[in-house]
């Protein structure tokens, strides 16, 4: 698989949120404002790329030689949880302004299934080497950001619209996400 194909497929065709249903919780939770969704995208991108890199190396050079692939789930989630903690500490010291911007989103990322999902997919794909896994993680983070920021923009407009009483809030957001997913299905033709 070429790099170009990996990127296009991860961002549009198999969009991580709208086609694979990973990371739906933050997609629903922090998408009320465009500004916060941009912050969340930055934090997810940061953690996703580092986590995929580390878990890939662990899978290839520790778990597989020892024959303990069944420990994958436990190892990966521990790596992600400690990474999030570490990133938080380092960021606080090195770049307080970036920490201010991403700070509140970082703890949420531990339970973002998109991060663990991408790590498991990348580690399980025999075709991926380290470089391809990293590209795959970056592309997926962009896909997550694209869906999240588009959706946040739509929701901001939805505030002003007169919605039937029973559909207000969450239900109409889901219907809107459905229509967005329908639009993304159009990209399936590319592949």
């Amino acid at each position: 698989m070429s790099y170009f194909l990996i990127v296009i497929s991860a961002i549009f065709v198999n969009n991580i949120v709208l086609a694979k249903f990973l990371g739906v919780c933050p997609f629903m939770g922090v998408s009320t404002k465009v500004e916060t969704s941009i912050g969340m995208t930055g934090a997810v991108m940061f953690v996703m790329v580092i986590a995929t890199m580390v878990t890939y190396l662990l899978q290839r050079y520790v778990l597989m030689p020892l024959g303990i692939e069944f420990m994958q789930t436990i190892t990966f989630i521990l790596v992600i949880a400690s990474l999030v903690q570490m990133v938080e500490i380092v960021l606080k010291k090195v770049s307080p302004s970036l920490y201010q911007a991403l700070g509140i989103f970082l703890p949420l990322i531990t339970t973002n299934c998109a991060v663990l999902g991408v790590a498991i997919i990348a580690a399980g794909n025999a075709e991926f080497d380290l470089m391809k896994s990293v590209v795959f993680a970056i592309a997926n983070a962009f896909g997550f950001g694209l869906a999240l920021i588009t959706f946040a923009g739509l929701r901001e407009h939805m505030e002003l619209v007169n919605v039937p009483k029973g559909m207000k809030g969450v239900p109409i957001a889901f219907v809107m996400a459905g229509l967005l997913a329908l639009a993304f299905m159009g990209f399936a033709g590319i592949a």
Partner: protein
């Protein structure tokens, strides 16, 4: 809170999917049919009850600062047990659920109950809470799976009702969002009537 109340609140007033909006990824991802939805719901229930028991047992032993990593390790261990058991005895369901089985670890419902309930209550209450929340989650997934299967494939639990094509969109990704949106609206209406 009475014992009965702890058990039943997970079904309606605090239903994980319809009211609290927790654990949405598996909810949307695996509910292409009622059987898959129920299978996922029951697997989650098992992990939830077991992790609630363990957390309730060790809550006084773990220092406050490291409790979240400890909870995650407990949950991840039970998820691995479910994963291996399912692979051995229910290979078809294992293939259908795929990536979402290891992802039970990051289901915010489980960590949420460990943190909000099991770490503050005794074992019996924690078991009841886990069962109620888990069955409520399984019920929600079963309903969503049944609706999508009915509209998308004109089938109920795998049995074809008519020899025709359904609305395929409900089996695909967009249908999951649409169906869940309308189900939440209906659920909101029902909850408002009872209170």
């Amino acid at each position: 809170m009475s014992k009965l109340n702890i058990f039943t609140k997970g079904f309606f007033s605090e239903n994980a999917v319809f009211v609290l909006l927790l654990g949405l990824c598996p909810t949307l991802g695996v509910t292409t049919s009622a059987v898959n939805g129920l299978g996922m719901g029951l697997a989650t229930t098992f992990v939830l009850v077991m992790s609630n028991i363990v957390v309730a047992l060790i809550k006084n032993l773990i220092p406050d600062k490291v409790r979240i990593p400890v909870f995650i390790v407990v949950i991840a261990s039970f998820v691995t047990i479910v994963e291996l058991t399912m692979q051995a005895f229910l290979p078809d369901l294992f293939d259908a659920l795929g990536l979402f089985i290891p992802l039970i670890v990051v289901n915010c419902l489980i960590l949420g109950r460990a943190e909000a309930f099991a770490s503050k209550n005794n074992i019996l209450d924690s078991i009841l809470d886990g069962l109620g929340m888990g069955f409520g989650f399984a019920m929600a997934l079963g309903i969503l799976g049944a609706v999508r299967e009915l509209l998308g494939g004109l089938a109920v639990f795998g049995y074809k009702l008519a020899d025709a094509d359904g609305m395929l969109v409900f089996v695909l990704a967009p249908g999951a969002f649409l169906a869940l949106g309308y189900l939440i609206a209906i659920m909101n209406k029902m909850n408002k009537k009872t209170t």
